[in-house]
């Protein structure tokens, strides 16, 4: 019963991921059929730019910058990263040729999947805390006691810390392969 309930909750997140791959594949095929090879070529730059822009949240999170609300920046991070990944997938297409760009692409997909998982975990943890708070309130505990109880649970902190220890290394692996792809494109391609 619990597994079934969890799966139902996961459906929108799985759909976000499927929508990414499906729409990118369709756009790639359409642009290729229409002869817009230059769009496929230069969309890689646009997608990379969007993904780089999404890291503003990461800078805010680590207090490198101080402006902007973290919650809003997180939403922008999710949107920019998803859109950037979409545009890069349009650029790459679903094919298997040179290993390095393909590694970069698959790493990016794993990072997106990881990001979507994080989004789910965050929402799930928030809901658990909310439900636990309601439960504690029903037991007529004071606000201070409730906060203390919730803090000891550390539901949100623990889950997100674990998730972060996966999401960030995956992101840098993606960055490493993407950087290699960009460097060697700059070295060998005619601009």
């Amino acid at each position: 019963m619990v597994i079934r309930f969890t799966l139902i909750k996961l459906v929108p997140y799985i759909l976000i991921f499927i929508a990414l791959i499906a729409s990118a594949t369709i756009l790639h095929i359409l642009f290729q059929a229409a002869g817009f090879k230059w769009i496929l070529r230069y969309s890689g730059i646009a997608g990379t730019f969007l993904i780089l822009l999404s890291f503003v949240y990461s800078l805010r999170k680590r207090k490198v910058i101080n402006f902007g609300k973290a919650k809003l920046l997180l939403q922008i991070h999710e949107l920019l990263a998803w859109s950037g990944a979409l545009i890069i997938l349009v650029h790459a297409g679903i094919k298997f040729d040179a290993v390095i760009p393909r590694m970069a692409m698959f790493a990016m997909l794993i990072v997106v999947a990881s990001g979507i998982t994080g989004k789910y975990l965050l929402k799930d943890a928030r809901e658990s805390i909310k439900s636990r708070r309601t439960e504690l309130k029903a037991r007529n505990l004071s606000e201070e006691e409730i906060e203390k109880e919730l803090f000891s649970l550390s539901l949100l902190a623990n889950k997100m810390q674990m998730w972060r220890s996966v999401h960030i290394p995956l992101t840098v692996i993606f960055a490493a392969f993407a950087l290699l792809h960009i460097i060697f494109t700059l070295l060998f391609w005619r601009w």
Partner: protein, 298 residues
């Protein structure tokens, strides 16, 4: 902890990737299969590429020397089937950049290595001499058989159509409109009545059917009593060069004769010589001149 893991992950991924690229460049970074003839160079990227500058023509022409393209193979042997058109083309290209027309990493077939040909890479002189390459394609219709000028006088390198035909290219035959524009003579009374001797060019120009230079006012000015209805004055089944004013009851031949003789005018059969409109006063000047001329004749 996360920071360290991230840094180590980055360094491992970057290092492994870099080593893989250096050892197996063809499998790690090439964007597609190189053509069959270049397969032996597939792991030596720098044989064609220059770092930071892409594929420089200077590297291509080390093997593919322009004066020999189409005539000799890369190894110096004469081709079994030479291609003088390809040779002429490659020697006529201005500011030659191989990548303007050729590409690589697009499959084994040699055909995949040639992109759509662009005429603008050729010298202006050769661009105008289409028949150097396209001689068998000249149409054998009447107009093209007459013409001896260059195709580029009417057509452009983008497409055969639309063309911009210039009648001047026909020389003396440019006025023989009917030889090309068959059955194009309008079926109205004016044109039907012209007959075969009148040439279109007498009223129209090769720049356009309109405006035409025909001006009926030079012969006779229409008014309410003399409308532009051809059949009133002309026999449209014959020719519009002749006319009569006696189709109208106002102009009774015997009365006209009587009135003109009374004024001393004996030659009055060509009415429009004096009467260029229905305005009586308009004839005054001409009448005096006419009388004077007839007196001199006597």
């Amino acid at each position: 902890m996360v920071k360290n893991t991230a840094l180590i992950s980055f360094l491992i991924a970057f290092g492994v990737g870099l080593i893989a690229i250096l050892i197996f460049p063809y499998y790690t970074i090439n964007p597609g299969v190189v053509i069959e003839d270049h397969q032996k160079l597939k792991n030596d990227c720098l044989s064609c590429h220059s770092l930071g500058e892409g594929v420089q023509t200077e590297k291509c022409v080390i093997c593919h020397q322009l004066p020999e393209i189409g005539l000799k193979l890369v190894n110096g042997n004469v081709r079994s089937v030479t291609n003088s058109k390809s040779n002429l083309l490659h020697q006529s290209i201005i500011h030659i950049q191989c990548y303007d027309c050729h590409t690589e990493h697009n499959g084994l077939s040699r055909e995949n290595a040639t992109l759509k040909f662009r005429h603008d890479v050729l010298s202006i002189e050769l661009q105008k001499k289409c028949t150097k390459c396209h001689s068998p394609q000249k149409p054998e219709d009447e107009i093209h058989l007459i013409l001896t000028s260059e195709c580029s006088d009417c057509h452009n390198t983008g497409a055969w159509k639309p063309s911009h035909f210039k009648h001047e290219l026909l020389g003396e035959r440019k006025n023989e409109c009917r030889s090309c524009h068959e059955n194009k003579q309008p079926a109205d009374a004016l044109h039907k009545g012209l007959g075969g001797t009148i040439q279109c060019i007498q009223c129209h120009t090769t720049d356009g059917w309109k405006p035409s230079t025909f001006d009926h006012t030079k012969y006779f000015q229409f008014d309410n009593n003399h409308p532009s209805d051809c059949i009133n004055c002309h026999d449209v089944n014959k020719t519009l060069e002749t006319y009569t004013c006696y189709n109208c009851h106002e102009h009774n031949p015997s009365r006209i004769e009587k009135e003109h003789l009374k004024e001393g005018i004996r030659s009055f059969n060509n009415c429009v010589e004096c009467h260029r409109s229905g305005d009586k006063k308009e004839t005054e000047g001409r009448r005096e001149k006419r009388r004077g001329r007839e007196r001199e004749d006597n």
